[in-house]
Symmetry: C2
Subunit: 192 residues, 2 copies
């Protein structure tokens, strides 16, 4: 029986990410990944059940990268802090990550767009779902579907990061305060 | 010389749209479109210069559908009306259209994601760009990049429409007022 090899698994995920960024998530196949890594297609199945499993793992790796980037994650995950501060930390962490890794958010968006019914991608991000749900219950965020909140944070930060990458404007032209204001105004409950 | 035929052109655009929705925009090819319509590949080139021209035309057809849907477009295009009313008409028109044609917005998003450098897709939507630019100058909308405003309106309405399509909740669970509030809070300048 073949032994599994973490380096090889990483290479396969790297190849999958590269193909998705170049050709779109729909273009992925285990044979393409095998070719890119220089192994037989059967070897890919040693690490991933099928194409969708490969996509799901590529997706989850990006999510865990967001979570481990910077030092903001510990704050938004800390139930002892006030909810405003936790939501603000979440927004800030997505902003920082988007600017440093715009392609990573493109990957996540590409895989989400496939609408793979067997994996409810939104639901894999439980820490964020829990935070938003709690903030809605406390009346800090608007009483709207959790994924509308997530889409708002994600897409505004992603587009801003792509604008910077494409040199539409420079980083000092718009402050974090201005960009995050747009996001927070959208998601925060309207004061009465 | 072959005569061009509008019905055939429409069939090719329909086939392109279908392929994009099923397999993603990256999966499109003139040969696939030719097969779907039942003509030779050379026939496709009679109507579209190349694959990107086919994509651009598919994209522009969806945009013009948004513009011709409902009766709201005339309002947001009417410079005699107050800017608040014009922006509100724009947001409402995207909402109505998204709910009735969620796949159309998916198509637009899919083609945008290709990031085809030769066609600046955002800039094809000049009526909306002009409206947002004017509203920023008048201080009604936040002084942020126009495409951040567009992404916000588009993505929140699109996600809500997909949620309805996927039966995550029913249409009467969240009112237009609640959904549009999220969008308007994001884009409107903060009162001082």
């Amino acid at each position: 029986m073949k032994r599994k090899d973490d380096t090889k698994r990483t290479k396969m995920l790297d190849a999958a990410a590269e193909i998705i960024l170049q050709e779109g998530a729909a273009a992925i196949s285990t044979i393409k990944v095998a070719k890119a890594v220089g192994v037989a297609q059967s070897n890919v199945y040693l690490y991933f059940k099928n194409k969708n499993d490969l996509l799901l793992n590529t997706y989850q790796r990006e999510l865990s990268r967001i979570r481990s980037a910077g030092d903001t994650f510990q704050y938004f995950n800390d139930a002892a802090l006030p909810i405003e501060q936790r939501v603000e930390s979440y927004v800030h962490s997505i902003y920082d990550y988007a600017i440093e890794h715009p392609d990573s958010l493109t990957l996540i968006e590409q895989i989400k767009m496939l609408n793979l019914s067997e994996m409810d991608l939104f639901n894999t991000d439980t820490v964020v779902i829990d935070l938003i749900t709690e903030a809605i219950q406390q009346g800090y965020l608007k009483n709207l579907p959790v994924n509308l909140h997530m889409v708002t944070v994600f897409n505004i930060m992603h587009r801003h990061a792509l604008n910077l990458k494409e040199n539409l404007y420079s980083k000092d032209q718009y402050s974090y305060k201005e960009i995050s204001q747009m996001v927070l105004d959208a998601i925060k409950a309207t004061k009465r």
